[in-house]
Each structure stands twice: as C-alpha cells, then as structure tokens.
C-alpha cells in the first residue's frame, strides 16, 4: 500500500526527464523510456492491487499521505492518496491501456520531429490522470483534473503548425473550462458545507445534507463531468480533438481522460444520492447524449470523427448507468470501453498509417480486410465488442447498464437505452463495412503496420475480447463484487424482466443494428451511394451533429467575437487609447502655446521678475 505514491511518481519522473532534457533526439530511446515507466507503474499498481485483495473486503481502504499540501488556518489539504477498489481499478486501466498505447506510439510517431516531447506530454498526462483517480480529496482530484485538461490541450495541438489543430486545442481547453469552473464552484460549496475536502468526511456528511444543497453541489460537480466527458451540451470539443495524433485520441479521448467525469460521478455518488434529482438528470443527460451521438456517428465519413462520436455515445451510456445507480456497471463499461475503444482508435491509426496521406475518409477505403488482415481482424473484435455481441466484453458491460434501467423499473429509459444500443451497433457496423468490406475504393498499397504496433493491437483485442469475464453478472461478477465496498452492493432486480430476458433483448437489438447496416451497405440490394446523394440534407445534418457546433458558432462564438472586436477596436482603441493620447495631445497643445512666453530675451525675464516683485509688494501693502 505504501507504494501507492510511486504509481503517479514514475510517469512524472519520465515527463520531467523527457521535457527538461529531451531537446535532442536519441533514436527511439524516449519512447522506450516513457513506455517502460508507465509499464512499471502498471506493475506497481498491480502489486498494490494484490495487496488490497489480500485484505478482507471491508478493510480495503487505505489512505497514503505523502505530505501536507496546503495548510492555511483551518484549511488543510494533504497530498494524500486513496487506495480502494475503485481507485485501483481506474489506476490499472489507465496504466495498462496507457502502457500499450505508449508502445504503439514508439513506431507510430517515429518520424515526428518532436518525438521526445510527445512522450514527455504523454507521461505527464498519465501522471495527472493517476493523481486524479488516486486523489483522496477534491482539491487533489481537481489538480489532476486540470492537469489532464492541460495535457489534452498540448497533445491535441501537438501538430500546431496546422491551424485546425491549434484551433481544436483551444476549443477543447475552453469548452472543458466551462465545466471546470462549475466544478471548482462545486468544490468551494463542499468546503462551505463540510469544512473539509477529504472524501471520507464529505461522503459521511453527505447523508445528512438537505436535498436542495445536495442537488446544487452534485449538479455543479456533474457540470464539470459534462465538460470533461464531452456530454451534451459541452460535447463539441471531442470530435475536433481528433486533430491530435491518433495515439492521443486513443489514450485521452477514448480510454482515459474523458472517463474522468464518469469516475467523478461514481466517486461522489453519496452526494448525488443525497439529492436524487441529480441522479435522474445524470441519467437523462447520459441517454440523450448517447442517442444524439449515435445518430451523429452514423453520418460521419471520417473514421476518427466517427470514433469520437461513438466515444461520446458510450460515455453517455456510462453516465446513464451511474444515474441509474448501477455504478459498478458504469465502471465496468468504462474498463471494457477503454480496451475496445483504444483498440478501435489504434486500428484507425493503423489504417491511416497504411494509406497514403494519413487518409481518414471512409469513402476512400473499402475492402481493406484483404490488404491489412491483422488490423482488420483486431478491429472486428473491437467492433463486435462495442456492438454488444456476446461473449465479448462490450456485451456484458453494456447489457448491465441497459438492464439497470429495466431493473430500476423505468421502462421508458430502458427503451431509450435499447435504442441507443441499436444505434451503437448500427454506426459501428457501418464504419466497419465501409472500411474493411465491400469494393476497394482506396489508393496506394495499404499494408499492416510494423510488428510492435501489431502486437499492441492483438493485446488490446485480447483485452477487449476477454475483459467480459471481469463482470459476467451485475450482482456476482468480479468487478461488481470488488467495487462493493465503495459503491455499495448492486441491488437485485426490483422490477422488469429477468437477467436472461434482458440479455436476449440486448443481443437482439445489437444484431438488428448490424443487420440493418449489412442490408444497406453490404447486401447490394440498395445502392447506398445513391442514397447518400438523395438524402444529402439528412446526411449533412447527422454529419454536422445536428448543427450544434454551428449553433454555438453563431450564437456564442459569433457574438463573443463581436463583443471582443467592440472592446478591442472601440473601447480599447478609441476610449482607452483615445484618453491616453488625448491627455498627451492636450499637454502638447498647451505647451505649444505656453512656450511662446519663453522669448529668450533676458530683459523680458527681468521685467517679469520686476512685475512679480511689485505684485507681491502691492499685495502685502494692501493686506497690512
């Protein structure tokens, strides 16, 4: 347990070494060092995990204090790590998936001139993410929270020579910032109410919290989660974040950082439960986002943007699960998603790697299955896992989330979740068929990536395939049972159908989605390319995400820019600069008049003396 601080410390050391000394490039040493440190960090997390498991279930909670961080009067915050089932599951996911993505990047980023810096940023990101999940109080969590935001900015804008990348980085930072501000206000509220930021104290006090206060605090926390996890209405940054290198998309925008919001909600569930309303809002935002993003993903032609929208929709499912109080299922989906989404992103990276000019357009792929078999078959495992086909991990995870709605007796939400699952199967299958099946539409000679990248794909595919064993059942699975001390027992079904019926319905829905995609894109019974033209308007609506982004551009960014222009060119230029220049000009003019007094003739000055002296004398004479 005492080793816990080492888990984040190792990647921090890597980041320090790489960022401070790594100006010059020494082969792929930087990549190996970074990967090794994250892998060792994973090993340490594993040791801590085994340590934790050897304790009895009730005693699986240790606080490891490193040092006093802030101590001002009664405001005391320690750099203290919390080792409990939830944090260690998160730490294992982050370091495990993170290490694989690091290894993949060694080859993927090989020709990049800022190779060392890339790995420095990646390690820094892992460090902040680990601080986030291991923190034992809200302030330390917030440190990690902001840190991953910073790294996200640095990595999205890694190819900052491209204006789109620089813009996307700014967009991601500013959009998540909106949520972060709410989160910070929430933390201040928590301090006001509990006079402590430690999880134990806050969660203990949360039970006695009045409903209204709990709702306010939990909604503020949730707003932070909405920003970081790209839920409606703050989701617009994630599709643009695909401007970053593909491993970044895999690591940050699929597997780890965006899941921080889900983690936050699950971690703070006592506050959310004290409110009740907040949980419903979480569930509704989640499911609406899932369906919205599902529709949008169907319209994407860019393979990475498709994956971005699919991430948004899967995060929606996670929030939905959390809102249904199926915390274990939400975390289980998070872990499974980390595997299959990292796999899909790295698969997309391999496709780009193999095609000329890093092609991401699905319309210029097709039939890649024969050209790059390993990429295609690993991708297909990710696809089926995500669509929810048993026995792959996605099936168990998503099934539990969807089933939670039915078991909570909320049939309407259950239907909505099933529809979301149907969309998931549909868009994922569509992308798969367009990229890997059908007639070839690509140029050049695509090929599988180099061996190291292939190994990572295979490892992730294995993870995506078998991670399901971690939670075969919502009540008795390994992860649900392991998480029980933190999130409480997953309750037995209160209502709705039996688990078996729910599973069969889930699978049926997934198969229906796949079948529909097959009918449209592969069966040759429909000319889908003609359909694209015929329903161009609908297609564009989906592709542009129902114009939410355009709406923001018009309604928020436009007026903000106008306002800034007004401030810059009218207030600053005319009024502020005008005042400063005006004062200067006033003195110059006055001086221009006044200087004429200075004739340079001594006698004029002498006369002035005389007159002055006479004046003073007269004054004195009159006065006395």
């Amino acid at each position: 347990m005492k080793l816990a601080p080492l888990i984040p410390a190792l990647p921090l050391a890597g980041a320090a070494v790489l960022l401070l000394t790594g100006k010059r490039r020494r082969g792929s040493a930087a990549g190996w060092l970074a990967s090794l440190l994250v892998a060792v960090s994973f090993g340490v997390a594993m040791v801590v995990f085994i340590d934790l498991v050897s304790e009895p279930a009730a005693g699986r909670l240790t606080h490891v204090k490193s040092f006093d961080w802030v101590a001002v009067g009664t405001f005391k915050v320690a750099a203290q790590f919390r080792v409990d089932p939830l944090s260690i599951v998160m730490a294992l996911t982050v370091t495990g998936v993170g290490a694989l993505i690091h290894v993949y990047s060694i080859d993927y980023m090989h020709d990049d001139p800022r190779y060392t810096r890339f790995f420095g940023y990646m390690n820094l990101f892992i460090f902040f993410m680990l601080v986030l999940v291991l923190a034992d109080n809200f302030l330390l969590l917030y440190l990690g929270w902001e840190g991953v935001g910073l790294c996200s900015y640095l990595l999205i804008g890694f190819w900052f020579e491209r204006k789109t990348a620089a813009d996307a980085a700014k967009k991601a930072f500013i959009t998540t910032r909106i949520g972060d501000s709410a989160f910070l206000i929430g933390i201040l509220f928590i301090w006001l109410k509990f006079h402590s930021l430690d999880f134990d104290a806050v969660f203990k006090g949360a039970q006695g919290l009045p409903g209204g206060t709990a709702t306010i605090i939990s909604l503020l926390l949730f707003a932070g989660a909405v920003g970081k996890s790209a839920q409606l209405p703050l989701h617009v940054w994630l599709p643009d974040a695909m401007e970053g290198p593909t491993p970044v998309s895999a690591l940050i925008h699929a597997a780890t950082m965006v899941t921080a919001g889900v983690y936050l909600v699950v971690r703070s569930h006592p506050i959310f439960e004290a409110s009740g309303t907040a949980l419903t809002i979480v569930a509704i935002v989640g499911i609406v986002t899932a369906i919205y993003a599902g529709f949008s993903a169907i319209g994407q032609d860019d393979i990475k943007r498709m994956l971005a929208y699919s991430t948004i929709s899967q995060l929606g499912f996670m929030f939905f699960g959390a809102g249904m109080q199926a915390y274990a299922a939400a975390i289980f989906l998070l872990v499974a998603h980390a595997f299959f989404k990292a796999l899909l992103f790295l698969g997309a990276g391999s496709v780009m790697h193999g095609l000329p000019n890093d092609e991401t357009d699905l319309m210029k792929m097709g039939g890649l299955r024969r050209a790059m078999p390993i990429t295609a078959y690993t991708w297909m495992i990710g696809w089926l896992a995500m669509a929810g086909i048993p026995p792959l991990s996605g099936f168990f995870a998503k099934d539990q989330v969807v089933a939670a709605a039915s078991q909570a007796g909320r049939a309407g939400l259950w239907y909505a979740a099933l529809f979301g699952a149907f969309l998931t199967a549909l868009y994922e299958t569509r992308a798969t068929f367009l990229a890997f099946f059908g007639e070839p539409r690509y140029e050049g000679h695509p090929h599988d990536p180099p061996p190291r990248m292939r190994i990572v794909l295979v490892a992730l595919a294995a993870g995506a395939a078998v991670a399901g064993v971690l939670g075969l059942s919502a009540t008795t699975g390994l992860i649900p049972k392991f998480l029980t001390p933190v999130v409480g027992r997953t309750e037995e079904a209160r209502a709705g159908q039996s688990e078996l019926v729910l599973s069969i319905v889930s699978v049926a829905v997934a198969v229906a989605g796949i079948a529909l995609a097959w009918f449209v894109y592969l069966s040759r019974r429909i000319d889908w390319q003609a359909l694209r033209v015929r329903f161009g308007g609908a297609k564009r609506t989906l592709q542009r995400g129902f114009y939410v982004n355009d709406f923001y551009s018009g309604a928020v960014v436009g007026p903000a820019k106008l306002g800034s222009a007004f401030v810059a060119y009218v207030i600053d230029k005319r009024i502020v600069d005008g005042a400063a220049n005006g004062i200067g000009r006033l003195f110059a003019t006055t001086a221009g008049v006044g200087r004429r007094i200075q004739t340079g003739f001594v006698r004029n000055y002498a006369l002035a003396f005389l007159l002055g002296a006479v004046g003073i004398l007269l004054y004195l004479a009159v006065r006395f």
């Binding site: 004429r596 200075q598 004739t599 340079g600 001594v602 006698r603």
Partner: protein
C-alpha cells in the same frame, strides 16, 4: 541735526530705479551688469540708513554681506560675459537667446 532717513531712502529708491531701468532697457551685457550693481548698492544704502535709524549694527553687517556676495557675483558674471563674448563676438544679450521657446 541728523539728516532725516527719508533722504537716504529717496536716494536709494532713485538709484534702484535707475538700475532697474538700466537692466530692462540696455542690451550691452556689461551695462546691464553695472545696473545690477547699482541696484545692489541702492539696497545697501537703505540697509545702512535703516541701521543708523534703529541704532544697531544688523543692517550694516548685512550690507557687508551683500558686498561680499556682490564681489563674488562679479567674478562669476564677468567670466560668463567674457566667454559669451568669445563665442558670439558680441556682448549684446539679445544675441544670446538660445532658450527661446
């Protein structure tokens, strides 16, 4: 019979006025300088006159001070005039108007 103080003051005022007018209207630096001396001595005269009337020495001592200062001033003033003449080839103060605004 003692000469009334008003006589001295009249002479002093007369001298001071001559000096003042000289400073104001003459253009030759040397003449202006002499006029300034005239003003100083006019004041000295009144100082001494007042001292005599009051019956103490304060005024006379002050007059000595002013003479000493005037002597020192002459040294500096003449030096300035000489260097001015060397530069401008004239002692006309109107030629030295570099400070005109």
């Amino acid at each position: 019979m003692r000469t009334p103080i008003s006589y001295f003051l009249l002479v002093s005022a007369l001298l001071f006025t001559i000096g003042t007018v000289g400073v104001l209207v003459r253009r030759n630096a040397l003449v202006i300088f002499m006029s300034v001396e005239l003003q100083l001595n006019a004041v000295n005269l009144s100082l001494v006159a007042f001292a005599r009337q009051q019956g103490n020495l304060t005024g006379q001592v002050l007059a000595f001070f002013s003479m000493v200062v005037a002597a020192a001033e002459v040294v500096v003033g003449l030096a300035i005039i000489v260097s001015l003449y060397r530069k401008a080839r004239s002692a006309d103060v109107d030629d030295a108007r570099l400070l005109r605004g």
